[in-house]
């Protein structure tokens, strides 16, 4: 596989940016240019997106890239591995990072300590990109902790408010237990195989004789539980509805849009690359977790009066779809053997495509909700009624976001749900799959109902007294929202490029195991 140091570029740019930003703040104060830090942050995020696109170009030309810090070859050194799935995730992370940094310039204007805010946002994105580029599990764990630490700190950013502190503490405790559980699984894997390099583990684990023979299933369960806490699969989701609303809106968009996807990425990467689904049956577990997640979170979302809590629960619902999609892929491969390859590719393609759609859609919704809160000053849905009429650009984009997550046909969210459900029904003559997929379809309709209810409330009702005097937010806050809305519409009408990309990513994830 080709060696290339350019895979390090986005990570280095972001870490360097995080280091130089406090200096920039200092310089900006000296020359009375307070706005300097925001501009520099946007430039750094732009550079990271540009370099990630460069890596994408290399991956397109040469196939998967690897890089290790010489002279220590794997399994000893720090190892990076970038295939289409990694770069797909990394591009989403960098894109959302750029848009949120633009949004934060105006949204966070009145806060103090903004150099630290942008620095933490950069280390957060660097950790996310590092997770998707990591080539061995311990390296993945290090970037995982970088990401988690940045997000704990960002949730507690408004540290003078009790809500932020309480939510952040809850998030920190639960998420750390989760990552330590995953590290425990990694330690057992290391003991069994003597290496943590993913491609070496992939060749060792499926043929390994263990005592007791159920040991690999123990590791699979620990991995799902450990990374599942960050992915907020249902029995481990309690931190999410607290942490996401308590953070500043830009960070809510980041957490809901991409951080929980890192958990899904880690589960998918470890399970599909190391524990081959044809050898181990973990599809059933993932499917069950998926439908429990979707059902419980849907009911909880219905009870909310706080707009950000409702959106947070809807994030859990969408994680359920993604986990379900990966589960169908694994189940089909286990059920049909190698014959299930095409169904598995369809299901995983749908899941990966849904990662993109949900990142864009939920980013859009949280930024939109942030704009409403910025203007009206409350998160209560009853008082936000009709605010969309007063803020046409934000309101229309917000509605597009709701429609795409509801799965209305011309928008992008429709396609990914369709692929996941089609793949579920494509496993023929299997009542388990038919029942679970039908539950997903029913939930999907149920979810569409409350998205439309929310849209009717925000867009169509007459404005409440608090929402009467509001105006459209500043242009810098409108731009990211409108861009995300346009991406949704364009991808919905012309999904073929992204579908191709997601398909290659899915095949790359499965191709590792097909040799």
């Amino acid at each position: 596989m080709p060696q290339s140091w350019i895979v390090l570029q986005p990570i280095i740019i972001l870490f360097a940016g995080a280091l130089i930003l406090p200096t920039i703040e200092f310089l900006g104060k000296a020359v009375k240019l307070e706005k300097l830090r925001g501009t520099v942050a946007v430039i750094i995020f732009g550079l990271s997106l540009y370099s990630a696109l460069g890596v994408y170009g290399e991956v397109q030309r040469q196939g998967p890239l690897t890089y290790f810090l010489s002279p220590y070859e794997p399994p000893i050194g720090v190892d990076f591995f970038v295939d289409q799935f990694s770069i797909f995730m990394a591009l989403i992370f960098c894109l959302l990072g750029l848009l949120i940094s633009i949004y934060s310039i105006k949204y966070m204007e009145d806060d103090t300590g903004l150099d630290k805010y942008y620095s933490l946002l950069m280390t957060l994105v660097a950790g996310l990109v590092g997770i998707s580029f990591a080539g061995d599990l311990f390296n993945l764990f290090i970037f995982w902790e970088v990401m988690s630490l940045s997000s704990y700190a960002l949730v507690a950013f408004k540290k003078y408010r009790w809500e932020a502190i309480e939510a952040s503490f809850k998030y920190l405790i639960m998420s750390t237990i989760g990552s330590l559980t995953a590290l425990y699984a990694i330690s057992v894997l290391y003991g069994l195989a003597g290496t943590l390099n993913i491609s070496q583990l992939a060749s060792i684990i499926p043929t390994l004789e263990t005592y007791p023979p159920q040991l690999p299933y123990f590791i699979i369960a620990t991995i799902i539980v450990g990374f599942g806490v960050t992915a907020s699969i249902v029995p481990f989701h309690f931190w999410l509805p607290d942490a996401h609303p308590a953070a500043p809106s830009g960070i809510s968009a980041m957490l809901s849009g991409v951080v929980i996807k890192a958990g899904v990425y880690a589960i998918a990467r470890v399970l599909f690359s190391i524990f081959i689904p044809t050898a181990f049956n973990f599809g059933t577990t993932l499917i069950l977790f998926g439908i429990i997640t979707i059902t419980v979170a849907n009911f909880m979302a219905l009870l909310q009066r706080d707009i950000k809590r409702l959106l947070a629960y809807s994030s859990i619902v969408n994680i359920g779809y993604i986990i379900f999609g990966f589960g169908v892929g694994a189940y089909a491969l286990n059920f049909y053997g190698v014959g299930g390859y095409s169904i598995a590719a369809l299901a995983i393609m749908g899941a990966i495509f849904h990662v993109f759609n949900h990142a864009v859609g939920k980013g859009l919704l949280f930024l939109g909700a942030g704009s409403f809160i910025h203007e009206v000053g409350t998160r209560d849905l009853m008082e936000l009624e009709g605010v969309g009429k007063k803020m046409p650009w934000t309101g229309v984009s917000f509605s597009i976001g709701l429609l795409t997550l509801a799965g209305v046909p011309p928008l992008s969210g429709f396609w990914s749900k369709l692929f996941i459900i089609l793949a579920g029904y494509a496993v023929l003559g299997n009542s388990f799959m038919i029942i679970t997929t039908s539950i997903v379809v029913l939930n999907s309709i149920f979810a569409a109902a409350y998205y439309l209810w929310l849209m009717q409330r925000v867009m169509l009702r007459d404005p409440k007294p608090k929402a009467k005097g509001v105006h459209e937010v500043p242009i810098l806050m409108v731009i990211p929202i409108v861009i995300l809305g346009l991406i949704t519409v364009i991808v919905g009408c012309w999904p073929f490029e992204i579908i191709n990309f997601a398909d290659v990513a899915a095949r790359s994830l499965l191709g590792l195991l097909m040799g």
Binding site: E145, E163, L172, S187, M300
Partner: protein, 104 residues
């Protein structure tokens, strides 16, 4: 898997993990919760080292993992203790039962 020391260490690691979880679940003091997390970190580190008894070739890399994991654990603990101090300033207490305003 015949080495008796190995069994002892692995069982101790699992017990420590359970002790840490128990501490987080039962204790109502925020500082004790953080201590529970540190106990779990110690259990995982011990587990890494326990496997090196079976095969000494694993030792160098396992030591590297444990050192890095200790550093990460210290970072998490310092952030957690910062939150404890801030919670004490806002609530005047480190009792977790007082931090129950967020529900469902």
């Amino acid at each position: 898997m015949s080495n008796p020391d190995f069994t002892l260490y692995v069982v101790t690691a699992i017990l420590l993990y359970i002790v840490g979880l128990y501490g987080i679940a039962i204790r109502r003091n925020m500082v004790r919760t953080v201590i529970g997390l540190e106990i779990i970190t110690a259990s995982v580190n011990l587990n890494f080292l326990a496997f090196t008894l079976l095969d000494p070739k694993l030792l160098p890399l396992a030591q590297y993992f444990v050192v890095v994991s200790i550093v990460l654990g210290a970072a998490v603990a310092s952030l957690a203790l910062m939150l404890v101090i801030q919670a004490y300033r806002l609530y005047g207490s480190t009792d977790l039962r007082k931090l129950n305003k967020l529900k469902w």
